[in-house]
Structures are given as structure tokens and as C-alpha cells.
């Protein structure tokens, strides 16, 4: 009994000491919500030095939290409990959150730096007139491949994936919109097609790709590509940048027939407490120098036109991540096709997957 009590006392003392250390590290403790904002972002998706700079410039303390999926993030915002002042949903999630009335409109009088954003990235179908959201980073869907494993073969189009020499080498993403979209694009149709005949054709075409398919998987494709265990994969540009960072042999292209254009966006959730602070933060992140520094740290493509002039020319001339006008004109943002249409996409994708066995 005695040693149990001793153990209890020890644990309490250790916890207490750790708490004291923690509150010392926590810099000045908690202040009122007036001079702090809570930012909810993907992990490793901002340069932490910028948060410090923002705190120094504005005197607003940043409480920073991270999430790992759009859906989880929306769940927590919807339920309340924590007041997030800024969040970073992907484009389809912006649409969904706006529909559920979870977002506050952005007051552009407080965000003069919006002029830095390339107009090409504004007023898109998922958020007309950018009522609720401002793009933070963007990217494409394309083909990541490793020429050293393919005897120097390169790719320009979706169609080239059907090359008979690629038997059992292509890795697909386990996601209906992406895979069916690739089929549609390769036939020259829109990613957002709701024409059942076009969808049928795309599915039939994907069925002929089956001999070339190695696997249909999720995020673990990054590791397969990095370790030279897979040679070709359907990949988002951000993921491709991560692959290249770890394995220099890997290359990435945006297929010429067209592809998907995706965004992560800054929004102000309805539960925000410090709305002025949130606007100040958005405006700060849109500053040319700040955006350039952030893009350099994160390694994704920034929609900030003014920032591009401050960045390493080698980076912004890299057409894989900053495609030219010509390629851009073929890119499409996913539209919300409604539940029924999404069901059809899922069914067709399932059909392709079933045919693989």
C-alpha cells in the first residue's frame, strides 16, 4: 500500500512540474479572444516563422491547431465547442460548408492584398465571386513517373498510359472522381461530365487500361514511388513535389488533354470569435513577401501573382508546378455534381475495380 501511495504522489509531482514547464513555454499564458486568433490548418502547411512575424506585426497571438482531413475538420467546426477563426478547406469542402451555412462572407475592405492574387484563380464555380474563400495553395492532378525505371520513357498525355509496354506498372488513386475523370479527359470530355453516354465510354476505356494497372491505392503511393517500387502513378501535384523531394529521379507532368485543378482555401468559419483578427491574418498571408516565403517553405504552388516575382525563377518557371497558359486553359475545377451523379461515378469506378479481379 505504501509504495502505491508513493507512486501516486510521484505521478502527481511529475505532472505538476511538467505543467509548470509547459505554461512557461506557452509564452505569457492565455489572453482574451480579442487579441488572439485560432488557426486550423493541415499539418506542416505553413512556415511557422510567419506566425511569429504576424504576432509581432499585429500583436495578435496565434493559437495554431492542425487537422488531417476535410471531413474531420468540418465535423469539429459544425459541432462548435472550439471557435476557429481561420480554416483551410479544399475547394469541394468550401462549397459544402457554404451550403451548410458554416462560413462567414469575407469583407474585402479589410483584405486589400486580394489584388495580389492572379485573377485566373478567382471567381471559380465552387465559390462564385469568392464570397467565402480565398485560395491559399493550388495544384493539379497528373502523372508522376520514374524514367530510370522505364528506360527513359516520358509522358505527355493520359493516353500514353494505355501503351501496351506498360503492362502492370500504373498505380491508380482509389477515388472515383479522379479515376473516372482521367478516363473522361483522355477522351476529350469534361471532368464534370454528367452525360451518361460519355461516362459509359470513359468507363469502357478505363476497362481497357486494366492490364496496365499495378494497384489502386491511396496516399501510400508516395512511399512506393520514392522507394522505386512503382514506376507510374496518378498523383496530385503536391504529392508529386513530396516524391521528388525524396527521390530526384521522379518526374511529373500535367497531361495535355486536360486535368483537374484543385485548391486549398482560407475561410472564416461561422463560429469565429475574432473576425477582425481573421481578416488581418488573411490579408497578412496574401502579402507578396509572406506568400513567397510560405510557398518556398511548403513547396506547393501559390496563386499569389505578386509573390511569384520574389521567388526563385527556377521554381516558377517549372511548368510542372506552374503550368503555362496553354495547359491552364485545359484545367477544370471539380463541380459539385450532386449526390445522385456522385453515386453513378462511384458505381462506374466500382465496375472498373471489379473487372480487375
Amino acid at each position: 500500500m505504501k509504495d502505491l501511495i508513493r507512486g501516486v504522489i510521484l505521478i502527481v509531482i511529475i505532472s505538476f512540474v511538467l505543467m509548470v514547464i509547459n505554461s512557461k513555454l506557452g509564452e505569457g499564458g492565455s489572453r482574451s479572444s480579442k487579441d488572439s486568433i485560432t488557426v486550423y490548418n493541415w499539418g506542416e502547411y505553413i512556415d511557422p516563422d510567419l506566425l511569429k512575424q504576424f504576432e509581432q506585426e499585429t500583436g495578435i497571438k496565434v493559437i495554431y491547431e492542425t487537422f488531417d482531413s476535410n471531413e474531420g475538420m468540418m465535423g469539429k467546426i459544425e459541432q462548435g465547442g472550439t471557435s476557429y477563426d481561420i480554416s483551410m478547406p479544399s475547394e469541394y469542402m468550401v462549397e459544402m460548408m457554404a451550403e451548410k451555412d458554416l462560413l462567414l462572407p469575407i469583407d474585402y475592405d479589410k483584405v486589400p492584398n486580394i489584388q495580389n492574387i492572379d485573377p485566373y484563380f478567382l471567381d471559380l464555380p465552387f465559390d462564385p465571386k469568392n464570397k467565402y474563400s480565398i485560395p491559399y495553395f493550388w495544384g493539379t492532378l497528373g502523372i508522376a513517373f520514374n524514367p530510370t525505371l522505364l528506360e527513359g520513357q516520358t509522358f505527355e498525355s493520359w493516353d500514353s498510359l494505355w501503351d501496351p509496354s506498360l503492362k502492370g506498372r500504373v498505380v491508380l488513386v482509389d477515388s472515383a472522381r479522379e479515376t473516372i475523370g482521367m478516363g473522361l479527359n483522355s477522351l476529350g470530355y469534361s471532368l464534370n461530365s454528367t452525360d451518361l453516354r460519355e461516362l459509359r465510354q470513359a468507363t469502357d476505356k478505363l476497362n481497357t487500361l486494366i492490364p496496365n494497372v499495378k494497384a489502386v491505392i491511396g496516399d501510400e503511393v508516395t512511399q512506393l514511388m520514392v522507394n522505386n517500387e512503382a514506376a507510374i502513378s496518378l498523383t496530385w501535384s503536391g504529392q508529386a513535389a513530396d516524391m521528388m523531394y525524396e527521390n530526384e529521379d521522379i518526374d511529373y507532368i500535367v497531361p495535355e488533354e486536360g486535368s483537374n485543378l484543385w485548391f486549398d482555401n482560407m475561410v472564416i468559419p461561422r463560429t469565429a470569435k475574432n473576425i477582425d483578427g481573421a481578416h488581418a491574418f488573411i490579408n497578412f498571408m496574401l502579402d507578396a513577401e509572406v506568400a513567397a516565403q510560405n510557398a518556398d517553405y511548403v513547396g506547393y504552388s501559390t496563386p499569389n501573382e505578386a509573390a511569384l516575382t520574389l521567388m526563385d525563377p527556377e521554381v516558377i518557371e517549372d511548368e510542372r508546378f506552374y503550368p503555362d497558359e496553354e495547359t491552364r486553359s485545359h484545367l477544370e475545377v471539380y463541380k459539385n455534381l450532386g449526390l445522385e451523379m456522385l453515386g453513378i461515378y462511384n458505381e462506374l469506378f466500382l465496375e472498373v475495380k471489379m473487372n480487375m479481379n
Partner: protein, 266 residues
């Protein structure tokens, strides 16, 4: 103990190797100057320096440890009391019912527990943060402690209690000098199991963190999209070393304590 022949020894070595290889692989790459976990370029300590520079990461790590220690402690206290209550229940079917309710909590998925806690806390007006995480960790640890302690209680011969009472022990003496010393191994097992459950829980914790309070598992999961940095490898390495030191320290202390054990415990 019988001496091990060669084959079992080899088997043991292989099993341990498989269990420890991933950890050592992780630690090995924490010294890699090239950014990733694939090819080792040069030896560097920069990732370890990064751990100590990243105040947020340290705060989160300490939070995780505090939550684990306190929740394990409190859930052990509640769990032991619960196990005693179940043990002394006279009505058999009642005992069975309570035990089943306890087991359902162990089996039910973390996601559901997490989501229901989120709803409960927001309705009750508990601010998400330290308190909500601590309470939910205590809650999901209690059934585990009960399950660890209960078999020890049933293992104990009931005549032991009768004998103590016959010899003039008060009820309090029976509890503190007979029952608790007997079930101590179960209490320790329950405590450490609760500790590890709390340390690595993601599903429940994700729902109930908020207002800037976060734990290590939530933080690491959210890095999945942009890639986990080697700073996390370095941190894992440090945690591993600390754990090994604690285990070694525990053995050193318990061996020292055992030596003069000849004297009667009071």
C-alpha cells in the same frame, strides 16, 4: 528455469528483431541529412536541434505526457474501486450485467466514443481543451483497468478475507493490508495499459481537442498529407531513449528495494 535450447533462442531473437526493427529504422533515419526516409546521406543532429527549437512541438509532447499520467492515475483509482464493487456484488446476474456494460465500452469503436464525447461536451458547455481530453481519456481507460484488476480479485481466495476478519482486522485493514497488496500486480498492469492507451489514442482525442490544446498523435496524423518530417523521427528517438531509461531505472530501484525485503512489511 530450464535452459533454453538453441531453436527457441533463435526464435526469440527473430521475434524481438521484428518487433524492434521498425523503431530502429525510424531512429536511424533521424540522423539523415537528406530530407527523407529513403537514402541516407550524411550524419546530422539538425533534426534533434529542430525538436528543441520547436516550442509548439515540445508543449504538445509535454501535454501528451501529462494527460497520459493523470488519466492513467485517475482511471486506475476509479477502475480499482469499480472492480472491487463488481467483486463484492451479491446479486450474480447484476454482476454479469455490470461487467457486460463495462466490456461493451472496450469493444465499441473509438470513433463513436470520440464523436459522442464531442457532442456531450458541447452540450454540457465544457470548453474543449485540457479538461475535455483528460475526462475522455479517463473514461475510456476505466473499463480497461477494471478488466485488468478483476481477474486478480477472483484469483484471491475468499478465505483470506475471512481469516483476516477472524484475526480482528477492521474492514479498512482488510482492504489496505490484504486485498490491495494481493491485487497490486493487476493495478500496475491496469495503470500501464491505461498509460499506453492514452499516449497513442488518436480517434477519441481528435474530436475533443480544441482551443490550441493538442496531443502528439493528433499532431502527427495531421502531417500525413504533406509528409511527416524527420523532426518527428528525432522526437520518437528521444521518447524511445527516455522510455528505455525509465524501464532500466525502474529495475534498478526495484532490485535495490528487493534486497532487504527479508524484514516484514508493515
Amino acid at each position: 528455469m530450464e535452459k533454453l535450447s538453441k531453436l527457441p533462442k533463435i526464435y526469440l531473437a527473430v521475434v524481438f528483431m521484428i518487433l524492434y526493427a521498425p523503431i530502429f529504422y525510424l531512429i536511424y533515419y533521424s540522423f539523415n541529412s537528406g530530407g527523407g526516409m529513403s537514402n541516407f546521406e550524411n550524419f546530422t543532429l539538425e533534426h534533434y536541434a529542430a525538436v528543441f527549437e520547436d516550442k509548439r512541438l515540445i508543449v504538445i509532447t509535454l501535454n501528451t505526457i501529462i494527460i497520459a499520467l493523470l488519466s492513467a492515475l485517475l482511471s486506475t483509482v476509479v477502475g480499482v474501486l469499480g472492480a472491487l464493487a463488481i467483486y463484492f456484488m451479491k446479486n450474480k446476474s447484476m454482476r454479469k450485467a455490470v461487467l457486460s456494460l463495462n466490456n461493451i465500452l472496450i469493444v465499441s469503436p473509438d470513433v463513436i466514443i470520440g464523436a459522442s464525447f464531442l457532442i456531450l461536451f458541447t452540450i454540457a458547455g465544457v470548453k474543449l481543451g485540457f479538461t475535455s481530453v483528460l475526462l475522455s481519456h479517463i473514461a475510456f481507460s476505466i473499463p480497461i483497468v477494471v478488466i485488468m484488476v478483476l481477474p486478480k480479485l477472483f484469483e484471491m481466495s475468499p478465505t483470506l478475507i475471512d481469516a483476516a476478519l477472524d484475526l480482528g482486522a477492521t474492514k479498512r485493514d482488510v482492504l489496505t493490508r490484504v486485498i490491495i497488496p494481493f491485487i497490486k500486480p493487476g493495478i500496475f498492469a491496469g495503470f500501464f495499459l491505461a498509460l499506453t492507451y492514452s499516449l497513442d489514442d488518436f480517434a477519441v482525442t481528435f474530436f475533443v481537442t480544441g482551443n490550441g490544446f493538442s496531443t502528439l498523435s493528433v499532431e502527427i496524423y495531421s502531417m500525413a498529407r504533406t509528409g511527416i518530417t524527420l523532426t518527428i523521427n528525432a522526437l520518437s528517438g528521444l521518447i524511445f531513449v527516455v522510455t528505455v531509461l525509465i524501464v532500466l531505472g525502474y529495475y534498478a530501484i526495484s532490485r535495490k528495494a528487493k534486497a532487504p525485503l527479508a524484514e516484514v512489511k508493515r
